[in-house]
């Protein structure tokens, strides 16, 4: 044992050199495909998700163009169906959920002070599967076989009788891809948070963003199986003639809606809870004080995560459910306003008397507070059955959920990108461009979507590809469409800012904002091993409370990728463990998995023959290779 090199007694440069030799990815293209560094994969994940945001945004602009005047001629009904389905599916499955998980993949290991995420190869696999799933959906769309059944794909519309061809199968299989990717990341984050926290970071010293990601991951793990079940049953109905959703043969149409929304409603919180964590983080840094009511905040996060599973039926109020069910779900839908409201008040209390620094991330937080409260109000409105029966499937609902999703998740996300950009790239984003973009996005957003409330109240239904000139909707639609140009301009500025700042931005240094959490205790961007020595934590805001040097743990081996495992509650050090090395197998396994999944759209035999290469790839992935990493 004495032959193993340890980091005790080594000084900075020699230590870094030793760490670099075991942690660095291979150079060149091969390194790009084999890396398991959570930062490289997180960055990739974020960039890909933003690409899908841009694509989904283009679709939104096309729809706004089509609806700008009555009897628009830009899109036909079939194209319009595909476009609104693609817009919803892209934004929900390929942008919002992945981007939140991606930020978690990048930040959680840094925030808990460890060197890599748990199961890093699974992490790489997850990214590739996500990428291929997104490509499947978009290539199908470009081939005129994009799904056209709405992002929720209700049967019987998506069932065998009314959705001939392969369009609905593409949707269902894209879901499978994103499920695999999301579940993989959720498991990694739970394990990272539970077992890899820096020594001393007991649960009550965990940053709120990490708490948020932990709750989100549990919600993912509990919610995704419902949609796995639903989409698999749908594919079986369509491909091999099962009758899950065929009432004439004892199946049940409503079963689909229950399964879908049992996943679909928590999905909203999968997007929203991380955003809340971002808001708390940014707010605390820019007010320069710990968040007010830390324990209350954590409990609110957990109870949102739990309540998320008790609301799904409010998407189904017009399906003729028993009165008792409707009342119950009205009550539970309103109950979620309690923990959300609690958080709002904690944020307000944090702001109270503080002199927040009005940098761009903080501006986005304010935009969030304003917009999200409005969206929450309309949420309480549609939670009541009589009103919902009127408003269901109208533009009011479109306005409502864009207020909660864009206001509640995209604004905090944009703030978070500005906030953590220095960590990601080592450079600051331009403040001036950022303010312009903020103004355009925030203003443009409200101008586009506020009128939709009114359009909904005036009776304009959702998902119509055009409307007649006699109807009173033309004016507001034109206004909304014109404002969409402002919103798009804002996003363009944001992208331009990120692009330019990544190259020419001002250098940031390790901790440009004077923030309290561990990710700022290392260089920007962090080296592949994150921390040269694992930090030891003694409070919620380690960088504020220990202004000099952080305490560190020593004694780790240098001949393998080694990190510290700690206990779940108190984060007492328990063991040193190795972290897997780079490998090409996650990438190859993702390819064969994709082949199997796509093939199974066309033939059930794909599951039999296609699983052979998958098994082979997995065996090779896990084959012991006698490297130091393989020692127990």
């Amino acid at each position: 044992m004495s032959a193993q090199p340890r980091d005790t007694g080594l000084d900075g440069a020699a230590l870094d050199a030793a760490l670099a030799s075991v942690w660095s990815a291979r150079p060149g293209l091969l390194g790009w495909f084999t890396t398991v560094d959570h930062k490289a994969i997180g960055r990739r994940y974020i960039a890909t998700a933003f690409l899908f945001l841009a694509l989904g945004g283009v679709l939104a602009l096309l729809m706004r163009w089509q609806l700008a005047q009555p009897e628009g001629r830009l899109l036909g009904p079939d194209r319009f169906n595909q476009i609104f389905t693609m817009h919803g599916a892209t934004m929900m499955f390929l942008f919002a959920v992945p981007v939140m998980e991606a930020v978690g993949v990048y930040l959680v290991p840094l925030m808990v002070g460890t060197r890599n995420i748990a199961f890093p190869r699974l992490n790489a696999f997850s990214y590739w599967v996500y990428l291929f799933g997104g490509a499947l959906l978009w290539i199908a769309f470009l081939l005129d076989m994009g799904p056209d059944v709405g992002w929720f794909a209700y049967v019987p519309l998506s069932g065998p009788q009314y959705a001939p061809g392969k369009r609905a199968d593409i949707w269902a299989q894209m879901i499978t891809f994103t499920e695999i990717a999301a579940l993989a990341v959720a498991v990694e984050i739970v394990v990272t948070v539970f077992k890899q926290r820096a020594p001393g970071m007991s649960l009550d010293r965990m940053p709120l963003f990490v708490w948020a990601m932990l709750v989100t991951s549990f919600v993912v793990i509990l919610a995704m199986p419902a949609v796995v079940l639903a989409s698999t049953a749908l594919i079986l109905d369509r491909l091999v003639g099962t009758q899950f959703f065929n009432p004439a043969a004892g199946g049940d149409v409503l079963l689909w809606q229950h399964l879908f929304w049992f996943f679909g409603h928590p999905e909203v919180y999968i997007i929203f809870i991380p955003a809340v964590g971002m808001v708390s983080t940014i707010l605390s840094t820019f007010c320069r004080r710990p968040i007010f009511g830390y324990t209350a905040m954590v409990l609110a996060l957990v109870s949102i995560g739990l309540l998320a599973f008790g609301l799904w039926v409010h998407h189904m109020f017009t399906t003729g459910l028993p009165r008792l069910g409707e009342s119950f779900f009205t009550a539970s839908s309103m109950a979620i306003a309690v923990p959300s409201g609690l958080q709002i008040f904690c944020w307000l209390a944090t702001l109270w008397g503080a002199r927040p620094r009005m940098a761009v991330p903080m501006l986005y937080v304010l935009a969030f507070l304003f917009t999200f409260v409005l969206g929450g109000m309309t949420g309480v409105m549609v939670a009541s059955v009589p009103l919902d029966t009127q408003l269901h499937d109208s533009y009011f609902v479109v306005a409502h959920f864009h207020y909660v999703l864009i206001g509640g998740a995209v604004f905090p996300l944009l703030g978070a990108i500005h906030y953590w950009f220095p960590k990601l790239s080592g450079r600051m984003m331009s403040e001036r461009l950022g303010r312009w973009a903020w103004g355009l996005v925030f203003g443009g957003f409200n101008l586009v979507f506020f009128p939709m409330h009114i359009l909904g109240l005036w009776g304009m239904p959702r998902r119509v590809y055009t409307y007649q000139p006699e109807l009173p909707w033309a004016g507001l639609n034109l206004f909304s469409s014109l404002s969409a140009a402002l919103l798009a301009l804002g996003f363009l500025l944001f992208f331009w800012n990120a692009w330019r700042s990544a190259r020419k931005g001002e250098m940031a240094g390790p901790d440009p904002w004077g923030a309290p959490t561990l990710e700022w205790a290392t260089a920007s961007p962090p080296p592949p091993w994150n921390f040269s020595r694992i930090p030891v934590v003694e409070s919620v805001s380690p960088l504020w409370d220990a202004p000099g040097e952080l305490k560190v743990a020593t004694g780790l081996r240098l001949d393998r990728r080694e990190l510290v495992l700690t206990s779940v509650m108190a984060a007492e050090p328990e063991a040193r463990d190795s972290s897997p090395q780079d490998s090409i197998w996650p990438f190859l396994a993702a390819i064969v998995t994709s082949v199997m999944l796509i093939w199974s759209i066309f033939s059930p035999w794909a599951v039999v023959w296609g699983s052979i290469p998958v098994v082979a790839a997995l065996i090779l992935w896990f084959w012991p290779r006698g490297t130091p990493e393989d020692e127990s």
């Binding site: 069932g159 001939p164 009758q243 959703f245």
Partner: protein, 176 residues
């Protein structure tokens, strides 16, 4: 180089996926031209109009068109006399491979459009031209000996037979 490869991949895919396009309502001139079947004087056999070829023979190769045909088949009372294809006392079977008037798509189109002397009513005044073609496509597929690469699927109805898309697919080019 990479671009060329992508192109080489994209072209066959683009070709293949015409069977997914969905023409909800053909342009009026196209719809009018669809009626221009050249008929032999005996009313059997002939040639579909040029636009049918220009459209890419959608009524046999496009799952959407076929499933529309299937729906019209139920809606317009064909099962009254033809059952689910097996025939009844009032009308002949359509899936026994025997066609009184020949197996061509244009002949089937004419049977439905103009009716036949043995008791087949004319549907000319009840359906549009493209709907007649959809019906003809569906009926021809019903009687085909091998499955096509495009097919409608089962109905949400009590299952009486395997769904059309469960037949082994045949990728050979179809005659008109």
């Amino acid at each position: 180089m990479r671009r060329m490869l992508l192109l080489a991949l994209a072209v066959p895919l683009l070709q293949g996926c015409k069977r997914e396009t969905r023409d909800l309502r053909p342009d009026p001139p196209v719809a009018a031209a669809l009626d221009g079947v050249a008929i032999l004087p005996i009313g059997i056999g002939g040639r579909p109009p040029e636009v049918y070829f220009a459209l890419g023979k959608p009524y046999r190769t496009n799952a959407y068109q076929l499933s529309e045909g299937k729906r019209l088949y139920a809606w317009f009372g064909c099962p009254q006399c033809h059952g689910q294809g097996e025939g009844t006392a009032r009308g002949p079977a359509l899936l026994d491979g025997w066609w009184n008037y020949g197996p061509g798509l244009e002949t089937i189109y004419l049977s439905v459009r103009d009716g036949r002397p043995g008791g087949m009513p004319a549907f000319r005044s009840r359906l549009t031209n493209d709907q007649l073609w959809q019906l003809a496509g569906y009926v021809q597929q019903l009687g085909a000996y091998s499955g096509g690469a495009a097919a409608p699927s089962r109905d949400d109805a009590p299952p009486t037979r395997p769904a059309e898309n469960r037949a082994p697919a045949r990728f050979a080019p179809l005659e008109p």
